[in-house]
């Protein structure tokens, strides 16, 4: 455990730690471009120069191992001068097109230029010109002139995505990043190169030019694309989600997420969004008031009673599942199930389970109870009624056919679906994961906070509010006023969540108390 001093702060660090890591841990940020905590050390940008007592030349902090009694100065005149020189060199051939660059506002060149750069350049020659708007794929756009050749993107593809798709071609100040063999980026994690790019060289085909980033409202949330629960930052403006980017969580996704997860927001603004409750009258769904719809739903559920089949979506939050289960317990039905959503898994982040809260469902016992039937019994067994909480059967025509023969069908959902159109007697408009607060339990048992980014359209209610209102009508139990209330109620009654504090889940979540489901699971 070497003990060293950085800027007067003495610290003990694990053996093998570099100065940049030690400084970071102590809250001292040493400027860096090519260094990234999740990638190998390249040591090429040369901006992380620090002065070390006893060493004649400035050292790069990213490749300097901490040693006992080392004295490091990040703010000496020599260190600052060295970094300012590198900043000047980085900018001589850079186009300085910040006003039209999508990275503006979150660009490390801008940040360090402002903080540690010089206020003018001595360079008065024409700049080197390189290709602009080069399509690396239908997701990633490249501008070679803005690129500072830090190779983060090259290393990400080779080291993290394990697809060695990028390289540098040419030499010297003619260097360019290029997709190998003239192809396109193909890996499922390629959009991370946009995030690791410290400058505006790699931009998102999806997000570019949609908004200046400083106008975005950012919510710290989790991805609802699969059971990994990658931590994300959701950027929105004009009440529209504009991008989803990964947020660091060492327990879950480190710095990364898959491309598919970034596109989970697509459809949030679809024309098929449900904006008002509906009841089927004379064969057709007609909009009605929430009171009317909730009364009709409660009546339908009560009538079906113990012969109600409930499909609780694996996309619902724990709080919503908890309330749903409470409702079903009151009705006395053991017929509850979660519709599986399988997709091709990989050996990195994509789990193959498209339900973001499968583990929550298992922990809360959302599965057929004693003597109960599940989704697969639809068609072979008649139910008096069915309730689909956040779920649809559009992908299962035979089950949908059977469902449409039920005497009563309640559909709670954010979008109009074939299921709601054909089978529902009552439709209650819910919201998407971008429009509500709540918690999910990820595949490894981590309880994480989902955060609302935008407000749902029309009169849609978050599902926890719908379920709370239904429960109030059926049992008289008070409806939770906030998702935090529902969470507290769940934690008090459910051992898996016992004692977990809503606010205490923080940015990185917390492990469930009993991460493995007890007994009730399939």
């Amino acid at each position: 455990m070497p003990k060293l001093t950085i800027d007067g702060k003495t610290m003990e660090v694990p053996k093998g730690a570099t100065v940049i890591q030690a400084a970071r841990a102590a809250g001292i940020e040493i400027p860096h471009y090519c260094w990234h905590p999740g990638l190998s050390v390249a040591g090429n940008c040369r901006i992380c120069l620090v002065e070390v007592e006893g060493m004649p030349t400035l050292q790069i902090a990213c490749n300097l191992l901490c040693a006992d009694n080392m004295v490091v100065r990040t703010q000496s005149e020599k260190a600052k001068g060295g970094r300012a020189d590198v900043m000047e060199l980085l900018l001589i051939n850079h186009p300085l097109d910040c006003p039209i660059c999508d990275q503006a506002g979150e660009c490390k060149l801008q940040e360090y230029s402002f903080r540690i750069g010089k206020d003018r350049s001595s360079f008065d020659f024409p700049k080197v010109h390189k290709p602009k708007h080069v399509r690396f794929s239908d997701k990633v756009m490249f501008d070679a002139e803005r690129c500072i050749l830090c190779t983060r993107c090259v290393r990400f593809c080779a080291e993290v995505a394990k697809r060695d798709e990028l390289d540098i071609v040419n030499r010297g100040d003619r260097n360019e990043i290029a997709v190998k063999r003239g192809g396109e980026l193909e890996n499922d994690y390629q959009m991370n190169v946009i995030d690791v790019c410290p400058v505006g060289a790699l931009t998102s085909m999806d997000f570019r030019f949609k908004s200046r980033v400083w106008f975005l409202e950012n919510a710290k949330s989790v991805c609802s694309g699969c059971s990994r629960g990658c931590n994300v930052t959701v950027g929105s403006r004009w009440n529209r989600v504009l991008r989803v980017i990964p947020r660091e969580n060492p327990h879950v996704n480190q710095w990364w997420m898959c491309d598919a997860g970034r596109f989970t927001y697509k459809g949030n603004d679809a024309d098929t969004r449900l904006g008002a409750p509906m009841i089927r009258k004379n064969g057709a769904l007609a909009e009605c008031s929430w009171d009317e719809a909730l009364d009709a739903a409660a009546k339908g559920l009560r009538d079906a009673g113990a012969d109600l089949l409930a499909l609780v979506s694996g996309r619902l939050t724990n709080e919503e599942m908890w309330l749903a289960k409470d409702v079903l317990a009151h009705l006395g039905t053991p017929h509850r199930d979660v519709k599986p959503r399988a997709f091709a898994k990989d050996d990195f982040l994509r789990t193959g389970d498209g339900n973001p809260n499968s583990r929550g469902a298992a922990l809360l016992g959302i599965a057929p109870g004693t003597g109960g039937s599940g989704l697969t019994s639809l068609g072979s067994r008649a139910f008096r009624g069915a309730a689909l909480f956040g779920e649809d059967l559009d992908d299962r025509p035979e089950a949908l056919e059977a469902l449409s023969k039920c005497g009563f069908v309640l559909v709670v959902g954010s979008h109009e679906t074939e299921t709601s159109r054909r089978a529902a007697h009552v439709v209650l408009p819910g919201v998407t994961p971008f429009e509500k607060d709540g918690t999910y339990v990820n595949v490894s048992g981590r309880v994480q906070r989902l955060a609302r980014s935008v407000i749902a359209p029309g009169e849609a209610w978050p599902d926890w509010k719908i379920l709370g209102a239904l429960r109030a009508r059926l049992t008289g139990a008070p409806a939770p006023r906030t998702p935090a209330d529902a969470f507290a109620e769940m934690c008090a009654a459910s051992p898996a969540f016992s004692g977990l504090p809503w606010n205490g889940l923080g940015e990185h979540g917390a492990d469930a108390r009993t991460p493995e489901p007890a007994g009730a699971a399939r």
Binding site: N44, I47, T57, N63, R171
Partner: protein, 445 residues
């Protein structure tokens, strides 16, 4: 003093362009050092090389025997020897003499070095522009394999050792030792960040010793003759002989093997190379290959040892003596060098990638008559931001190699630059400009 040529490395070598065959080499006592070495322990071989004091002939002059001791023991990984025959430094053509004419001397040294460091595979990385060296080395390797000198049973000892000839593809940077490793592995010739040092993590992340061709050829002689006999040439600072290439404005550009302690830079130029051509006078000399500081004509009365040349203000480097006569415009000469370094920068590190281009643009502007008086000071300052001797601003020495000539040209020949600014460009440019339409002198390539 008359020109004294010594003959050790090139003793019995055929004329330029010809190769000493295995039979010829053996007839002259070839591979006896290997037979002797096989009877020694690896430690004994290493000790002989340490005792000889032989310093790396690639330019840095690091004691080769000490380098060998850096190989970590018992890593469970193979150890490799990489012999640097890239010889990409402008002005240098000494290793070529060994690879082309006496390849078996090099192969024998490589096998001995492998034996000493615990390697069983050596790569000889040969400059791509040296097809004759590649061909001759490959032919020699084939001969050695066929004769049981290389392969699974070296000279019947039961020990396996093999040598592979790897061709470069024309990049200066692949002569940088770690850039060479990247190239051997089939990657882009990017120099590697240190630590880890190649002796710990080199080829395929395994311990690797990198030595210059001339260094390895000397290993054969050290083992054959013993360290003491080998040290009879040279002095304590630079033991052994040196192969030197002399080029530029001399009567007889040549290569020569010398005793560095007994031969001065002046003798190299005036005796071995026949003096300055066309009856002109000496203006400047770059003693160690294009990367080292230039010396004015007044500083050539120094022995060609590492220490003496350093004391004179430059470096013996890779012994490529580049001579310039008194008609040379030093702005023109520096532009030539800056074009080279700009072109050859691998572009990995910011200062080198951006700075070598800026240096070239500045020199070109001064050269082509667009220079402003303040450009000279700016050139000096930009050079300092890019590198310098031991500046360590970049992963490898290319940036420093561009800066050392720049700084020394300005130091010794500032008047040439001032004249070019004051008089509308270098005489070379003006002569060319008078023959054709004026060109834009902004300096963009």
């Amino acid at each position: 003093m008359p020109a004294v040529e010594v003959s050790r490395l090139l003793k019995g070598a055929p004329p330029v362009g010809k190769r000493q065959t295995l039979d010829e080499y053996r007839a002259a006592g070839g591979y006896e050092a290997l037979r002797k070495g096989l009877g020694m322990t690896p430690e004994q071989i290493t000790q002989a090389v340490i005792d000889s004091g032989v310093r790396g002939r690639g330019g840095a002059g690091f004691p080769a025997g000490r380098k060998w001791t850096f190989v970590p023991k018992n890593t469970g990984k193979p150890v490799y020897l990489a012999v640097n025959g890239d010889e990409s430094e402008p002005g240098c053509f000494k290793d070529r003499q060994i690879m082309e004419r006496v390849p078996h001397l090099l192969i024998e040294g490589a096998i001995l070095a492998c034996r000493a460091i615990g390697a069983q595979t050596a790569y000889i990385y040969v400059r791509g522009e040296y097809p004759s060296c590649i061909g001759n080395l490959e032919a020699a390797v084939e001969e050695a394999r066929a004769a049981g000198i290389l392969g699974s049973d070296v000279l019947g000892s039961g020990w396996r050792c093999d040598v592979w000839v790897h061709s470069g593809a024309g990049a200066y940077i692949c002569g940088e030792e770690t850039g060479m490793l990247s190239s051997i592995e089939g990657g882009r010739g990017y120099p590697r960040i240190k630590p880890p040092f190649p002796a710990v993590e080199g080829l395929w992340r395994s311990p690797t010793i990198i030595n210059n061709v001339e260094t390895i050829a000397n290993v054969t002689l050290i083992v054959r003759d013993g360290a003491d006999a080998w040290k009879s040439a040279g002095d304590a600072d630079t033991p052994g002989t040196r192969l030197v290439g002399i080029s530029g404005h001399v009567v007889r550009p040549c290569h020569v093997e010398i005793d560095p302690a007994k031969t001065t830079l002046r003798e190299l130029i005036y005796d071995h190379a026949g003096g300055i051509w066309k009856g002109r006078k000496l203006k400047a000399v770059i003693p160690g290959g294009s990367s080292v500081p230039v010396l004015p004509a007044t500083q050539i009365d120094v022995p060609f040892t590492y220490g003496a040349v350093k004391a004179a203000g430059s470096l013996a480097g890779a012994a490529g003596v580049i001579v310039m006569d008194d008609t040379t415009c030093m702005v023109d000469a520096l532009l030539n060098l800056m074009e080279f370094y700009h072109h050859e920068s691998c572009g990995q590190c910011t200062p080198c990638r951006e700075g070598t281009g800026w240096l070239e643009k500045l020199v070109r502007r001064i050269w082509s008559g667009g220079g402003k008086p303040e450009d000279i000071a700016l050139l000096d300052r930009v050079a300092d931001t890019v590198g310098g001797a031991g500046a360590g601003k970049t992963i490898c020495f290319l940036a420093d190699s561009a800066v050392m000539p720049t700084k020394s040209f300005l130091k010794h020949f500032r008047a040439d630059f001032e004249r070019a600014v004051a008089e509308g460009g270098s005489p070379v440019w003006k002569a060319r400009a008078s023959r054709r339409k004026p060109a834009a002198h902004a300096g963009a390539r």
